[in-house]
Subunit: 352 residues, 2 copies
Amino acid sequence: MSKRTKESRRPPAKIADVARLAGVSVATVSRTLARPEVVSEETRNRVLAAVRDTSYTPNISARNLRVRKTMVVLVAVPNIANPFFAEILQGIDDTLSAAGYGLVIANLAGPPEKEARYVDLVCAGQADGVLLLCGHVIRSRDRDLRDAHVPLVGACEYIPGASFPQVCIDNVGAAREAVRHLIKLGHTSIAYLSGPQSTILERQRLEGYKQALKEAGIAAAGGLIISGDFTFRTGVEAGRALLALSPEVRPTALFAANDEMAIGLIKTLQSGGLRIPHDLSVVGFDGIPYADYCEPTLTTIVQPRRELGASAAAELIALMTTEKSAVRKDIELPATLILRDSTCPPSARNRN
Amino acid sequence: MSKRTKESRRPPAKIADVARLAGVSVATVSRTLARPEVVSEETRNRVLAAVRDTSYTPNISARNLRVRKTMVVLVAVPNIANPFFAEILQGIDDTLSAAGYGLVIANLAGPPEKEARYVDLVCAGQADGVLLLCGHVIRSRDRDLRDAHVPLVGACEYIPGASFPQVCIDNVGAAREAVRHLIKLGHTSIAYLSGPQSTILERQRLEGYKQALKEAGIAAAGGLIISGDFTFRTGVEAGRALLALSPEVRPTALFAANDEMAIGLIKTLQSGGLRIPHDLSVVGFDGIPYADYCEPTLTTIVQPRRELGASAAAELIALMTTEKSAVRKDIELPATLILRDSTCPPSARNRN
DNA sequence: CGATCCTATGTAATCGATTACATGAACCTG
DNA sequence: CAGGTTCATGTAATCGATTACATAGGATCG
């Protein structure tokens, strides 16, 4: 009886159609859908049947107009093509779309005027919330964004003085752990391949590196810091630089601020004749899928990417739905060092 | 004079505010924004100034409600985490967002009920168009999607009988070209590492492989086809299978249906002691960034990913904006074989 | 039994834009 | 100068929901 044949003509059913079919007013239909407990069981059944028969779905534009929400959140991501962010996005998407939100992805890798367009969109109140996957945006349009008065949550890159909640791992601690691992293996000459100096992420990982060296009583010789920018290319360049060094002065281990650079470095070193980890131990950071595919597989700090995205999204939802923000707490997720094949004790011939 | 200090209070300006400030009716404001040429120069200036002073932006929900559009397109993608799709998405995003559309990304890698939710959303008229990056969805909800009467464009995977325009490369031709390259180098024993048998993509690449062998008069021995599913893991498995073969019967070259498998295969072969390309030439398909990073760099068919995404998006925009579809043409984009280091003539010891 | 309260439902205002139609001024034109 | 155009603008209906307020009928109670 409830199984009608296709009645579906071109224009989608509207609430008035359902009301007519059920013999009630539009208000009752709306109530039935929003708060089923306030209508009598009998009407409820009639309405729900009518909803089914007309395959009615509320028009979101109309609803959003009325309740003054957009059900859209803006996600600012440095670069979608980066597998690290791709997985964070999945976590965000899972959580947000389950709660009925759509997400507009602002890919900052695109032309810069696009970034401006996105910020404007937010300021114009066309998004209910913003998720920042990097400190980038906030620095340029700080004020605009702030007094647009839109809930905001940050993830991945922890910004110390920020006025909004953030979801991150302990970058300093994780970097320290990575370097401690190398020290425990017996390495004393440990280089660091940095990220772009302008990011907070970079400063924190550098800090962790320094702390580990310091607590082990190893002097952080300045020359052991090689500067990179998170790209494969700079990993390759760092590799060339290391190859140019004579074996006696070459470090026996290296901590890279992310996996992509670590992999570029390893490739370059290998084609220059070095054996990894025998001649140089390498530990990376992030735990991108490829780190487990390369040869040798990469020892690295793996970040809980999906969870990072999911809890940032959950936090934002809380902010958006709660009356006047009271949430405001930072969340720190655990990152773990995964031991694979790119590290081993320094070989005898490299010891001094 | 136009540079006012911040007047921005909580509620965003609405069209009535602008009208009041400019001393005109709301209709005139709307017209000024939509078709500036129909209002007198003098009013136009007054209105535009008022727009600036109030930093007015039309409320999209209200507009969409009125004009019965959503300005949203749904993009169904097999897996965002896959770098191949990530770049296509960028092309789509560039084009679509420049035209003012938002995109909802339906990541089919997620839980299957999410896929259903997305299809429902489209059927409920909450999207103006759909972009399919794989044949997957269409096959399961074919009818629903069709009579939802929403403009649809396919990309990447060409579906022969489809009733909607598609933007693809010539998969058969490209695969044939890849294999021809191996043949030209002198190989006569060429294996094929397939994609998932259920996809049309796979059948087309297999077809190209067969055509190339046939035109060279090489019998396609059945045993040379190894089945995979586009993942790194099956590349590894294929590598193990090849290692198990004695060198005399082992093929001297292999064409993989995508790069990820090719890379998995190469890694495995290398750790099994084979030298690539010396002992086995490999050509891949897709041209993902990593193909240029691995060791040796991968000879592969590179697909114009960004353009693929951009023209699919452009085609969809045409469909959505044109009165009653008249567009309906498939677009074929060129894919090119890029020669890198994973292929060379068969070595003497492997010849028979 | 009349006052009071509750429950279930209906009526109509509202969200903020777009746009068909109405209006009125200015300008021709014969 | 009556009547017809054209041009710029205003009035008000409309898109499709949500929800404050009104109302009617029934239960409860002193």
